[in-house]
Symmetry: C2
Subunit: 132 residues, 2 copies
Amino acid sequence: MTSIKATRTSPNTYTVVNDFGAELKVSAPGVPGTFSPGELLQAAVVGCASLSAEAQLAHQLGQDFTASATVESTETTGLITDLLYTLQVDMAGLDQQAQDKLIASAAKKIDRLCSVKRSIHHGINTETVIAP
Amino acid sequence: MTSIKATRTSPNTYTVVNDFGAELKVSAPGVPGTFSPGELLQAAVVGCASLSAEAQLAHQLGQDFTASATVESTETTGLITDLLYTLQVDMAGLDQQAQDKLIASAAKKIDRLCSVKRSIHHGINTETVIAP
């Protein structure tokens, strides 16, 4: 897996870049034009889950299917305890039975392929190094 | 905590927005101009940890201190098992003893304040809903 780099570009704000020209700003919640750390965690889950279902959905609905997704998190005493991922897909071209089948198979793909979701669920060891 | 929304804007790519005008694209690793889900998880950790140390560092080094950070992840059999967060801070104005003291107190703040890091370590329940 690739690594990311962050640089402090103003008080309370870091600019994050990867090796492929993407950039974002992370700051406290509610700062215009930036994501909070909690939102980036949600973005990781929304991306991972949605992309895991991509092949299945494109196969049944065509390459140009319409979909949107949200993630909501529940926090208790300073811990994020639950993340609820909801994917809304336009399946208007399918009958009820085909829709049910596609939903079940997409959910199965997400469970199997989304390593971010499984890793977060399982727990990830985190280490901190601070260097002068 | 605020929630985020993602819309499928092209095959294999979702555009993620929050309520404060920030936007990013998530896709498979290596797609120009986009972050992968794993990179967004790293970005969540780098932001959370760095911002948790902000007040401590600004107090000792001034509002305009220079810092950069990285996160590297270790993956085994489809699970992200370890995230190594490294923060590099310019402490040239401090003597060795003051540097050691600041590093220790910043690390303590990160452990105490960074809820994303603690939540990931602890494990987060994740649920999926797919709707037509």
